[in-house]
């Protein structure tokens, strides 16, 4: 008995130390997040004001100004990216899950996976070659195009996975009612997975809102506000990059506040996504 209780003690100590190690390592993993949030809050919150959201940046040396151009620019870029990326991504996802598996579908899936892992700076280069060069200049179109390419594979894969979760007998129930395949899919199956599809779209939007590299030589930037879709356009990430690397204190403050706002928006998008997933379950 004594031997058994000794072993028992050893087991408890082992158990306790394993739990401790796990806790410490998990804590280490989330520490950066905590520091990012708190540091951004400390450095950025001071610059939060109505002017930050409504005013254009002032020239170097002048006090004040805001990032209205970058915020508006990011929204415009996101709209352009979404209006190409979402429909194409959705179509791609539907094709991946519904078409009979053959060479085409396998090639499509491989391409989508490869596209996910292409570095975003390369996507920027591609957009530069196919949009900026023919249009002879940086533009909102080019930036939105580059971002849409980042979006497509994310939307496609999430849509595919959501559709695959629908059991085949639900599909067959629709066919058994005497309805053509496409009607069953578009009117009965897809409406039922709305929440899941929306989740994928929101995640893709969150990802794209923070992308900087694809915009550097596509949308470029400007500090005058919106001048049309054929003109260079500011965006939060690029503006943060420019201001953070400048030597002007007002600009550097704007960069901190911009970073805080950007992180907050992405955080919010993720929260909404989680809420949708929870409600679906």
């Amino acid at each position: 008995m004594k031997e058994l209780s000794l072993r028992d003690g050893r087991r408890k100590v082992l158990n306790w130390s394993a739990i401790t190690v796990l806790c410490v390592l998990s804590f280490l993993a989330i520490t950066p997040l905590f520091f990012i949030f708190s540091y951004l809050a400390v450095r950025g919150a001071g610059g939060l004001s109505l002017a930050f959201f409504t005013e254009l940046p002032k020239p170097v040396g002048e006090i004040g100004g805001g990032m209205a151009n970058a915020i508006g620019g990011s929204l415009i870029l996101l709209s352009i990216a979404s209006s190409f990326g979402i429909p194409i991504g959705l179509a791609c996802g539907v094709a991946l899950s519904e078409l009979k598996v053959g060479v085409t579908v396998r090639a499509l899936r491989l391409s989508v996976d490869l596209l996910t892992s292409v570095p975003s700076i390369v996507i920027g280069l591609f957009a530069y070659a196919v949009v900026v060069v023919p249009m002879r200049g940086y533009s909102a179109w080019a930036g939105g195009f580059a971002l849409s390419i980042v979006m497509i594979p994310i939307v496609a894969r999430s849509t595919e996975e959501i559709l695959r979760l629908v059991p085949s007998h639900v599909y067959e129930a629709g066919l058994a009612l005497g309805l053509p395949r496409w009607k069953v899919l578009l009117r009965l199956i897809i409406p039922g997975v709305r929440a899941g599809v929306t989740t994928g779209i929101l995640l893709a939007s969150a990802r794209v809102s923070g992308e900087t590299a694809p915009l550097l030589f596509t949308a470029f930037s400007n500090s005058f506000g919106f001048r049309g879709l054929n003109q260079p356009i500011a965006s939060l990430p690029v503006q943060i990059f420019t201001y953070a690397t400048s030597h002007d204190d007002t600009w550097r403050q704007l960069a901190w506040t911009g970073a805080l706002v950007l992180v907050f928006v992405v955080f919010l998008l993720n929260l909404v996504t989680r809420f949708l997933i929870r409600r679906r379950e």
Partner: protein, 259 residues
């Protein structure tokens, strides 16, 4: 039996999954308003057989069908495997209820019942409302759900969901209803309700029901066919199959010696 009383007739119906021959040249006649039970051990081809009767089998990759299936409609008898025959049109006449309850996710009870009609172009609200009420009454679900038609179909219990699926199938007014082990995922009380319902449905539709449960076949059907390894061993009035089977394999199966 005159031809007009026959609701469905198969002639040399065979089905394959790839090279696997799962239904072997079945010829069977089902009369109007029969409840026809298909019994047999797992993997004997009975589910595949009824999935050929609404041309659902061919929707699976690598699946193939050979033979003829005649169903009698308003304009005489029609072979659903005739060249040029449209599976979509056939499925309007031959409804199906599946093993697992499968209401369309995200759709309300109301929308589930009218899915078939609405997507076929029926738009008038009054018509749809009437169909919902009659179909749910036929499926013995109306009193339980009449005050919550806007709730999602998936919010119901398993047994209620299965009756909702029956209502959904009945809403397009099929002449034949195929049921693929409709109670195998349900508790005994829900099972009893569905069995009662099937017996009452006789006056409206011809029912073909696949079941693993021999007591169920004995309780609700008037005709029974026994399948074994893709072949039809024996068919006839349920009472005779269960009391005086002609084939020793049928006798062994119904007395529980295998399967």
């Amino acid at each position: 039996m005159t031809d007009s009383e026959i609701s469905l007739r198969t002639e040399g119906l065979s089905a394959w999954f790839g090279d696997h021959h799962v239904v072997k040249s079945i010829s069977l006649s089902v009369s109007r308003n029969d409840v026809y039970a298909l019994i047999g051990p797992s993997g004997c081809g009975k589910s595949t057989f009824i999935r050929c009767l609404n041309r659902l089998h061919e929707e699976i990759d690598g699946a193939r069908v050979q033979g003829d299936v005649w169903i009698s409609g308003d304009s005489g008898s029609e072979n659903i495997y005739a060249p040029g025959s449209d599976p979509v049109a056939i499925r309007r006449q031959v409804g199906m209820v599946f093993q697992k309850p499968n209401p369309f996710p995200g759709l309300s009870i109301f929308d589930n019942v009218v899915a078939g009609l609405r997507l076929a172009g029926v738009k008038r609200r009054s018509v749809l409302e009437e169909v919902v009420e009659t179909s749910l009454k036929h499926a013995a679900l109306w009193t339980e759900v009449k005050d919550k038609l806007k709730k999602p179909g998936t919010s119901l219990s398993g047994g209620q969901q299965q009756r909702l699926c029956i209502a959904r199938a009945l809403a397009v007014r099929p002449k034949i209803l195929l049921m693929d082990e409709p109670t195998s995922a349900l508790d005994p009380i829900s099972t009893a309700r569905i069995e009662e319902l099937v017996m009452r449905l006789r006056s409206e539709v011809t029912v073909l029901i696949v079941t693993h449960n021999m007591q169920q076949a004995a309780r609700i059907s008037n005709q029974t066919a026994f399948f074994l390894m893709g072949e039809l061993v024996e068919s006839g009035p349920t009472s005779r199959i269960f009391t005086k089977p002609k084939d020793t394999r049928t006798e062994q199966y119904i007395t529980g010696r295998f399967g």
